[in-house]
């Protein structure tokens, strides 16, 4: 992961481990749909890129506060909590801003991954230049509207 974090980044290797655990908690892998979780290496790399682009200072501070509470309550770091306890901790209202940011980051990275898009019947490529097929639909539905007299107000 070091190659995706700028040299002046505040985020440490330990922070990355925690963020990766959070991402995987927000969107876990699914055997049923045969898709990775947001802690997948490629997807998490995108999350880290987004963090770097948007600035990591606030996230770093929020994560530190969360880690501090985890130590107080559980005697260990967030990443070492059980999935159930990690979920409970994230749902604590004191972590609302951190969760809000992580939901944004995780969803943006996860739902641009080609494997994920393919699983919901979307193309594994940017919209341009391929575009999409859209059916014309049933234009006969317009017949009753065509029969209406003009109803705009004449002035």
């Amino acid at each position: 992961m070091n190659d995706t974090i700028s040299s002046d980044s505040n985020v440490t290797e330990s922070d990355l481990v925690a963020l990766r655990a959070v991402a995987g908690t927000i969107i876990p892998a699914s055997e049923q749909y045969q898709i990775p979780g947001a802690d997948d290496e490629a997807i998490f790399r995108t999350i880290v890129s987004l963090v770097r682009e948007q600035g990591d200072g606030t996230l770093k501070t929020q994560l530190a506060e969360l880690q501090s509470r985890c130590q107080e309550r559980h005697g260990c770091s967030l990443q070492k909590l059980s999935p159930t306890d990690r979920t409970s901790e994230l749902k604590d209202s004191s972590n609302a801003r951190f969760l809000y940011r992580m939901i944004h980051l995780t969803a943006n990275a996860y739902y641009q991954d080609g494997r994920v898009l393919a699983s919901i019947d979307l193309k594994e490529e940017p919209p341009f230049p391929g575009g999409h097929e859209v059916p014309q639909g049933d234009w006969s539905l317009l017949d009753p509207v065509r029969k209406r007299e003009p109803f705009y107000t004449k002035v």
């Binding site: 908690t25 927000i26 969107i27 876990p28 699914s30 049923q32 749909y33 898709i35 995108t46 987004l50 682009e53 979920t87 809000y100 939901i103 944004h104 969803a107 943006n108 996860y110 739902y111 641009q112 080609g114 994920v116 898009l117 919901i120 019947d121 979307l122 490529e125 940017p126 919209p127 341009f128 230049p129 391929g130 575009g131 999409h132 097929e133 859209v134 059916p135 014309q136 639909g137 049933d138 234009w139 539905l141 317009l142 009753p144 509207v145 065509r146 209406r148 007299e149 003009p150 109803f151 705009y152 107000t153 004449k154 002035v155």
Partner: protein
């Protein structure tokens, strides 16, 4: 260095600036347009990239306060429940608009006469009709003739496809016996004037990489520039200057290096939208005009109108278009004209929306609680992805003097120019209209088979339409410009953007803005010999 002196100075290169430049180009006068932003490149629009939704929320987002572009100016909108959505660059707001392209109705110009509210316009639908036609020709409008909600109007290209989403909603409207029609759209459905046809990228509001959507950088501007109009980018105007006779003499602006420049002009045309134009006029103070230019009425910056929007979306068992296809689809104007039994005056348009994109479904769903994060996420998400469609209600906003654009005493743009400050409240009439629209839309979506419906108002980031802050009229005490866009106070100063709107109608304004700009340009040409009398 030679003095920079031109015949006509246009400030702003968006919808109105482009149209008025095109309209005046045939005069062969020396016309220069100053634009604070850049030319856009289709190869840089978000849909060229996998992370298009992230890019759309970043440098191509519609909030100038969050976009992070140096070409933007900040806006203090703490005092408004609706936040400005704009774009600063050649093409202006048309870079990011959806391309909804309705005309006003004849009744929109006569609200005082018909409903006893606001004011009548000093012009009417028939005055603008030929300029609508001309604007349509340059723009390239797709649609279908015969809409009973409108007087007859031509359509240049076939309508956008109904698709799965349009078909579902059409069934819902038909079940209620209510009007619907394919939307008039500024989107080419066939190759048109050098532009290729729409290929359903599905992200019109992030800029059209295909060039099918008619942003004015690829419609009016090429025509105007071929005819000799000069367009200078990265030029941010601070103020319009005046001479000893009280006539506009040009402008002071900052170039791309932040250096102050002066340009002289015989005619100055403001085309900076309903926030940018009053901002510059209010900042153009002098001993002769201590309260800002063209402001003897005190109305510059007052009567700010948005269009308050409601959003109403349903979840359907059947697959819909989702992010595939342009936003534009069908509209309904069943509730456009006044019926006082509804509890409000004037009306609104329903605009169908094909669906949501994958990231937005996830973010909005998880933050609202509709889609869980963690266990159960995938199952619920799959019930939403490609299964949500619905509509927005674009409601007529009536002018109220307490809704204002003023200059912020502290906030400034990168060149030190005071930022605009908005003060705006939703009226009781708007609130009743929004709530009524949600109830009716819910009926449509449920009739179409929606298993659940979600709604809300206003759309906070939906301040796309900025109108009314320098309105037109025949009485200098009750308006800022006359019936053909000329300032009552300064005879060589014109305004052609949404500022001059007397009322807002219940439709998107761009088609009318462009028609008005062409109408003003035509009137100027007709009166060249005595333009300042």
């Amino acid at each position: 260095m030679a003095e920079d002196s031109v015949d006509v100075l246009i400030i702003g290169a968006g919808a109105s600036g482009a149209a008025v430049a095109y309209g005046l180009a045939e005069t062969r006068m020396h016309i220069v347009c100053l634009e604070q932003g850049d030319w856009m490149k289709q190869s840089e629009y978000p849909t060229n990239f996998m992370d298009w939704e992230a890019r759309a929320a970043g440098p191509f987002g519609n909030s100038p306060n969050h976009r992070g572009r140096t070409t933007d100016y900040p806006i203090n909108e703490d005092g408004s429940p609706i936040k400005v959505a704009n774009f600063n660059g050649v093409g202006g707001g048309t870079i990011l608009y959806a391309g909804h392209f309705p005309r006003f109705h004849p009744s929109d110009f006569r609200v005082k006469t018909l409903d006893g509210v606001a004011d009548d316009w000093p012009i009417d639908y028939d005055t603008l009709a030929p300029f609508y036609d001309e604007s349509d020709r340059i723009t390239g409008v797709s649609g279908l003739e015969g809409d009973p909600a409108y007087p007859p109007k031509p359509s240049l290209m076939p309508p956008l496809p109904l698709g799965r989403s349009g078909t579902l909603m059409a069934n819902g409207f038909n079940a209620k016996g209510w009007h619907w029609w394919p939307s008039d759209s500024a989107i080419a459905t066939e190759p048109y004037e050098g532009r290729d046809q729409c290929i359903n990228l599905g992200a019109c509001t992030t800029g059209c990489a295909q060039g099918a959507k008619a942003s004015t950088d690829i419609t009016f501007w090429p025509h105007a520039m071929r005819a000799g109009v000069e367009l200078r980018t990265r030029c941010r105007v601070r103020e319009v200057t005046v001479d000893d006779d009280g006539m506009a003499s040009g402008a002071i602006y900052y170039d791309e290096n932040g250096n102050e420049q002066t340009i002289k002009a015989s005619v100055v045309i403001m085309a900076c939208n309903g926030v940018g134009t009053p901002r510059i006029l209010l900042n153009s103070t002098s001993s002769r005009f201590p309260n800002g230019l063209s402001n003897s009425s005190g109305l510059v910056g007052k009567n700010l109108m948005f269009h308050p929007y409601a959003h109403i979306f349903g979840v359907f068992p059947d697959e819909v278009d989702g992010p595939r296809g342009p936003h534009d689809c069908i509209w309904s104007q069943e509730f456009y004209e006044t019926d006082t039994d509804r509890g409000f005056v004037r009306g609104f348009t329903f605009e169908g929306a094909r669906g949501h994109a994958p990231v937005s479904i996830a973010v909005n769903g998880m933050l609202s609680g509709d889609v869980p994060w963690g266990a159960g996420h995938h199952e619920v998400y799959r019930q939403r992805a490609n299964h949500i469609c619905g509509m927005v209600a674009i409601c007529e906003d009536l002018p109220e003097a307490h809704n204002t654009v003023t200059l912020d005493p502290h906030l400034k743009d990168p060149d030190g120019i005071p930022a605009p400050k908005l003060t705006y409240t939703l009226s009781d009439n708007s609130t009743r209209m929004l709530e009524f629209s949600i109830d009716r839309a819910r009926e449509v979506l449920e009739a179409a088979g929606a298993t659940s419906v979600q709604s809300g108002y206003p759309i906070v980031g939906g301040g796309w339409h900025l109108m009314g802050t320098a309105r037109m009229g025949t009485d200098p005490d009750q308006s800022v410009v006359n019936e053909w866009g000329r300032s009552h106070d300064v005879k060589n100063l014109f305004i052609v953007d949404g500022s001059v709107f007397v009322t807002s109608a219940g439709v998107n304004p761009t088609r009318t803005i462009q028609a008005l700009a062409l109408y003003v340009a035509d009137t100027m040409k007709q009166r060249l010999a005595n333009l300042f009398d």
